[in-house]
């Protein structure tokens, strides 16, 4: 289980996507699961104008929080410190891992149990822990399954969505000592429960993510259904929470409107089983809870997004996953094809800041710009606009005086530049454009039978006999 998880470079995206769409099994898994989640979400929002009001307000809260981000982070730090929490800051994944490993070493850790945390995936913590000779065990059922099979999550809310229960049954029978083959979901969950309860009891450290960090009270909020998050944050002697710097809100009262949209957008639940609000470690006289509580605030490219007023809206995200559930591309290829921690539309707009455009420039192109993501986003991130923007940044060097994005211009191509320059030259010269139309229609028989990606599954495009321009001109003359 300590084998490093594979890091899949984004450059192989097209290959993986092609393999995924050819996998009928995977296609139907994702289609069915996404249809289910779409229907569940829709049932939660019967009143469209009410939903629009909620989205507008949630967007307002997120924009307000981001506008005050540095102040709120300082306020959060102050409050948490007063509450007895140690606050750490990390600019890079390496720094974050080092902070966590140092804490773990101080406590002679053998085992860390983990609640669901996408940021810990983002920094490849499990890998770093393994390198440091310590075990990091995922305890969210889906994450546990995925880790047991040496994989990464394929969905940010439903990590093992790509697996059937039969596959999981075989996996458990093979990898869990003493587990007999069963494809009863209840029994499979029972097996996971038994294994993990043992681990909760013995782990020296519990790690969790954070859904909202409240500055005014110094409160870390966690959303979950299973109870593993509560186990990780309560049973071990040390709790380390890790979060991106963008998750902070000013006031406790800012939480309910966001929470209501988060759980409804994610899984179509009005609320999750547990909403866990943690404001400090065990106090004298209290009989359980961690004795030490740490918060690691991670940048990892977020300040780059923050530095640009349009791209800043990326940080409004509350990680509900609705954009991927509704994305026709994600539905066809699943999460693994993206090769980044965050798949789908949100992954395409957030990954370039974390990994740089050189490694991720293909991700923003993997969208038909249909707009479904932007339409369902509970905090109204204009995802299609951001995809377009990132397509541009990937293909153009920064203008003089502008600070380049990480990997800016990495996808620049002389040929593509020439094509678009030629395109613009043609379409800004009406007479030339009409002449082109005249020629294309006259020589329509010469249309190439192979047209790049188009003819892979389509017959070639062929110009009409006469352009609309010509027909309208002829009408005018007659």
């Amino acid at each position: 289980m300590n084998a490093p998880l594979q890091f899949v470079p984004a450059s192989a995206f097209k290959q993986r996507a092609a393999a995924a769409v050819a996998d009928a099994h995977l296609r139907s898994s994702f289609r069915n699961a996404m249809d289910f989640l779409i229907a569940r979400r829709a049932a939660q929002f019967p009143d469209a104008p009410a939903l629009e009001r909620q989205r507008a307000f949630a967007e307002h809260i997120r924009k307000y929080s981001l506008a005050r981000l540095p102040d709120l982070l300082e306020q959060l730090e102050r409050k948490l410190t007063d509450n007895g929490v140690s606050v750490h800051w990390a600019e890079t994944p390496e720094e974050a891992n080092r902070i966590i490993i140092d804490i773990a070493r101080r406590h002679s850790t053998r085992l860390m149990v983990k609640g669901k945390s996408m940021v810990s995936e983002e920094i490849e913590l499990n890998h770093a822990m393994a390198d440091a000779g310590m075990e990091a065990l995922e305890s969210d059922m889906g994450e546990y399954i995925v880790q047991l099979d040496g994989e990464k999550p394929s969905h940010i809310i439903m990590p093992a969505i790509h697996k059937t229960k039969q596959q999981i049954a075989r996996l458990f029978a093979e990898k869990v000592p003493g587990a007999a083959y069963t494809d009863s979901v209840d029994e499979l969950i029972g097996i996971g429960r038994a294994v993990l309860r043992e681990k909760f009891m013995t782990a020296e450290i519990g790690l969790s993510g954070v859904n909202f960090a409240v500055a005014e009270t110094g409160t870390l909020c966690l959303v979950e259904n299973e109870g593993n998050g509560r186990m990780c944050t309560t049973v071990p002697d040390v709790h380390i929470a890790i979060t991106g710097i963008e998750k902070v809100v000013e006031k406790l009262e800012h939480v309910p409107p966001l929470l209501a949209l988060l759980t409804r957008s994610a899984t179509g639940q009005a609320i999750t089983t547990y909403f866990n609000m943690i404001s400090g470690p065990r106090k004298p006289g209290e009989k359980d809870g961690p004795r030490e509580l740490h918060l690691v605030l991670v940048d990892n490219g977020r300040t780059q997004a923050y530095g640009d007023e349009q791209l800043r809206s990326t940080l409004q995200c509350i990680r509900c996953g609705a954009c991927m559930n509704h994305c026709p591309v994600y539905t066809r290829i699943g999460g693994h094809a993206y090769g980044s921690t965050y798949p789908g539309p949100i992954g395409a707009i957030v990954s370039p800041h974390m990994l740089g455009l050189a490694a991720t420039h293909v991700l923003p192109t993997a969208s038909s710009l249909c707009g479904a993501c932007g339409e369902v986003c509970p905090v109204r991130i204009p995802i299609p606009d951001l995809l377009i923007r990132l397509r541009g940044e990937a293909q153009h060097a920064a203008r003089p005086g502008e600070k380049p994005m990480l990997g800016q211009g990495a996808a620049q191509s002389r040929l593509i530049d020439i094509i678009w320059a030629g395109w613009a030259a043609l379409y800004t010269r009406p007479a030339l454009y009409r002449a082109f139309g005249w020629l294309a229609t006259r020589f329509r028989a010469l249309t190439p039978p192979m047209q790049s990606g188009w003819t892979a599954s389509r017959t070639p495009l062929q110009p009409a006999r006469r352009t609309l321009h010509e027909q309208m001109a002829a009408r005018k003359r007659s």
Binding site: R332, T365, A372, R434, S457, P463, A464, R466, L468, M472
Partner: protein, 260 residues
């Protein structure tokens, strides 16, 4: 976003401009001609500025803002009179109505021109329904059709609502729903060239859904989607073919004796 809910529609005008779009110009000019015929039948004079080329959307969605701006600028002043500008394509209409003002946001003069133009841009079915306020007479045999509206048309222009309402005026036309009706057909402009595997999978699912309705034809107000789906069907040797809504409406409601 349904435009009808938030847009103030003017009285039926005597004259309009037609912005034909680059795809219709080269690949589906009949759709453009049928749109003209339908408008003229309503007593509206159609002006077609000869200098028009493309709205700029291909460069816009590919991340080439400079080229987008140049091409958009070349269209901006082609419609000097205060007449409506009719666009028989939802995504091009969306580009001119919603994106032009943002493209020129940094130049107050161009911005005011772009905003003024945006106010006059109507998607074709939207115009027929809400401005021309047509009353269609069904002259065809009973037919079962499916409807595919492009994503931009649906989300930026509310075309799915307008098209359905227009078809509702034809008593012998039954509009069949297909599964995942609001889902993209996989065209996405350059997306279909850049990611053929994913695009094909999406197009394949869409044609299967359309076929399952048992419809004789399917209709779209966007030439891009129509080309994507028709050429996919042709490659599969499938007889089902889609039509532009303008063509379908013209043929059903007034084309006798004028068939090409």
């Amino acid at each position: 976003m349904d435009e009808a809910g938030r847009r103030h529609y003017p009285e039926k005008p005597a004259r309009v401009y037609l912005f034909g779009t680059c795809l219709i110009d080269l690949f589906c000019p009949e759709a453009g001609m049928d749109a003209v015929r339908l408008l003229e039948r309503e007593g509206i004079e159609v002006h077609f500025p000869a200098a028009q080329t493309c709205c700029g959307q291909p460069a816009h969605s590919s991340g080439f803002p400079e080229q987008t701006r140049a091409v958009a600028l070349a269209q901006l002043r082609l419609f000097p009179e205060a007449w409506p500008v009719i666009v028989p394509s939802g995504s091009c209409a969306g580009m001119m109505r919603h994106h032009y003002p943002r493209i020129f946001a940094d130049d107050p003069r161009l911005l005011s021109e772009a905003s003024a133009l945006a106010e006059r841009v109507f998607e074709f079915t939207e115009f027929l329904l809400h401005v021309a306020r047509v009353r269609l007479t069904d002259r065809g045999a009973p037919a079962r059709v499916a409807l595919h509206t492009s994503c931009a048309a649906r989300r930026e222009m509310g075309t799915h609502v307008h098209a359905r309402t227009l078809l509702g005026q034809l008593p012998r036309v039954e509009v069949a729903m297909h599964t995942h009706e609001s889902e993209c057909c996989g065209f996405g402009g350059t997306f279909s060239l850049k990611h053929p595997a994913i695009s094909s999978a999406m197009a394949g699912d869409k044609v299967e859904a359309l076929k399952q309705t048992g419809a004789q034809t399917f209709l779209s107000a966007d030439c891009g989607c129509m080309l994507n789906l028709n050429h996919t069907l042709q490659k599969r040797g499938d007889p089902l073919q889609g039509q532009h809504l303008a063509t379908f409406l013209w043929q059903r409601t007034g084309a006798e004796g004028e068939q090409r």
